[in-house]
Symmetry: C2
Subunit: 347 residues, 2 copies
């Protein structure tokens, strides 16, 4: 079933992408480029699976599924500008490959195209209105989440509840909205729709915790990112915040963690171009040393296990919400297996 959905989504994305062979190329090529970078298409598959729980007319959910994938890619394009990110899925980010203006504008068009896709779905007026309303609320929250994330980068003390609120807005409400939109299109009862939203929200939080964990403890090749990238960038992840919280009672540990996380890998600026090579080597060495040192602290406070327990707890909350829903057991089981496989993907 999931393979069917994956194939359907792939096919629809290719069709949609082909429609965008339009001038001006600077506006439309970045959209096709982003869609060609692939990814697991988790979000559109969730829309389809949610719809499938309540109806076998999943073809009605295809456009909404495409819309969330497009929206997700819009946020990536704009976020990459804000985060100065050079790479995305091992390829240049849009603003690096083209420029910032093209990235801003093509992102804007992706958002509009997402709305256009929803408008294309053959939905009854009530369902269309409800789907749009869920989509709008989600979109506002995702922007709020990104702004909190940007704000927190500048702050020294972020509490764990603040972190959870931020990832809920930035990451989890999109997964939740996917489930809710699918449920609405499938004709679910209100109670089931709300429980599926809860399923999505808790699953989304578990996904983000898993991402935080994999950055440090994942297998590099599978994860496709530099190991410890979050540590190098001083990113406030669950692991860091939790380790800091535990370290509060241990003066020596706290000081060491703060020293490392305050330290930039760019410790010594290159004095001339000729020194660039040596400089880069030194930075790589400093960065590796930093990752190793912080990981020693993480291991000491057992943050891997704590994070895994947290992930399991959110996953369990999600499963509990799903179990309350009136839908065929086999389909609910397929949804649980899909999320479980995603959560265990690199351990």
């Amino acid at each position: 079933m999931i393979t069917n959905f994956q194939n359907k989504i792939k096919e629809e994305i290719e069709k949609f992408s082909a429609e965008l062979s339009l001038p001006p190329a600077e506006l439309y090529e970045p959209i096709r480029y982003m869609l060609s970078l692939g990814g697991k298409r988790i979000r559109p598959i969730f829309v389809m699976m949610a719809c499938d729980l309540f109806s076998n007319k999943t073809e009605h959910a295809v456009h909404a599924a495409l819309a969330v994938e497009l929206f997700h890619n819009f946020t990536l394009v704009h976020d990459d500008i804000m985060d100065n990110a050079p790479l995305r899925r091992n390829k240049l980010t849009v603003y690096r490959k083209w420029n910032k203006s093209a990235a801003i504008l093509s992102g804007d068009v992706m958002m509009v195209k997402a709305y256009q896709l929803i408008g294309r779905s053959k939905l009854s007026p009530d369902v269309l209105e409800a789907v749009l309303s869920v989509f709008n609320e989600m979109a506002v929250k995702v922007c709020e989440g990104q702004q909190w994330d940007l704000n927190y980068e500048q702050l020294h003390n972020i509490s764990i509840p603040q972190y959870f609120k931020m990832i809920e807005l930035k990451t989890a409400v999109l997964i939740a909205a996917c489930m809710k939109m699918g449920a609405l299109i499938g004709g679910a009862k209100e109670e089931d729709t709300e429980n599926l939203y809860e399923f999505g929200k808790n699953t989304g939080i578990a996904f983000q915790l898993q991402d935080d964990l994999m950055d440090v403890y994942g297998e590099e090749e599978k994860f496709g990112k530099l190991k410890g990238g979050d540590i190098i960038a001083n990113k406030k992840t669950f692991l860091l915040l939790k380790a800091s919280a535990i370290a509060t009672s241990n003066h020596y540990l706290k000081e060491e963690l703060e020293q490392w996380m305050g330290a930039s890998p760019h410790l010594t600026p290159a004095l001339s171009k000729g020194e660039g090579e040596i400089q880069r080597e030194r930075e790589t060495k400093d960065a590796a040393e930093k990752v190793k040192a912080v990981m020693r602290i993480y291991d000491f406070v057992n943050v891997k296990k704590i994070t895994e327990e947290e992930i399991n707890s959110y996953h369990q909350k999600a499963v509990n919400a799903l179990e309350k829903i009136s839908a065929p057991e086999a389909k609910k089981q397929a949804l649980i297996e899909f999320t479980s496989s995603l959560l265990k993907r690199e351990t």
Copy 2:
């Protein structure tokens, strides 16, 4: 009647703005700031007037009117980043007052909020769908127009038809969409709706030509911009393209115009900080000389009169489209008077 609409729009914008006293401030304050900068609110007034041609239930058009104003402000916030514009209505642009990330994100939220506002309108399903579809198509075209504008900045030879296509997309389709959305909400027949779209499109083109003209021949205080700003920035306006086209047959004139328009006001870079003051004085002098020289050429080829005739011709096309519409003569007349007053606002 127009005063009523103006007051209603003002009141609704204030109400909407008050709703946005929300955290995170970096996300919502820029929206409130943009809405507080004022402006003539031409676009929402057009939505109201278009609806009023066909129905006295203009309260149904208020949310759509607000939505287009918000969308317009979203484009300003993002365009100002792309254009490196320091000021907007004599105040700092959002990305200068806050930063680029806040400008990108708050712009994104403004777009979503525009959709949310349309969703709030109490419209029948058919009308809502039609209004959303007009809004979506318009939004895509406005982004295309901005991308063409950015592309044309880098090109030496832009034809007058290319220029007209660009301003149609970037500026005129928004006015056209305002009229069409208002007409749809007012319950207009399809033919009337299409004619009103034509009215809006041609009016929008006339507005942009008028803007181009006022940059050079407007009264500085009234226009609120630096006189000849487009000339200083080498912007490809109708006046420049037309003057270039006429100058093609006059070798001397063509060379002089090209020399001036190729010349940057930053002719001699300041060698040290101490020279900044002298440098700025020199730049101001160079810029003023450039404006004077280009205006001499404009006067020589009579481009003011040609532009005025072009404006009149588009205004007349707009009026002709309006005349075909079945609506009370007095209301059509009010619409003509409103656009005429806007077109003559500074001459």
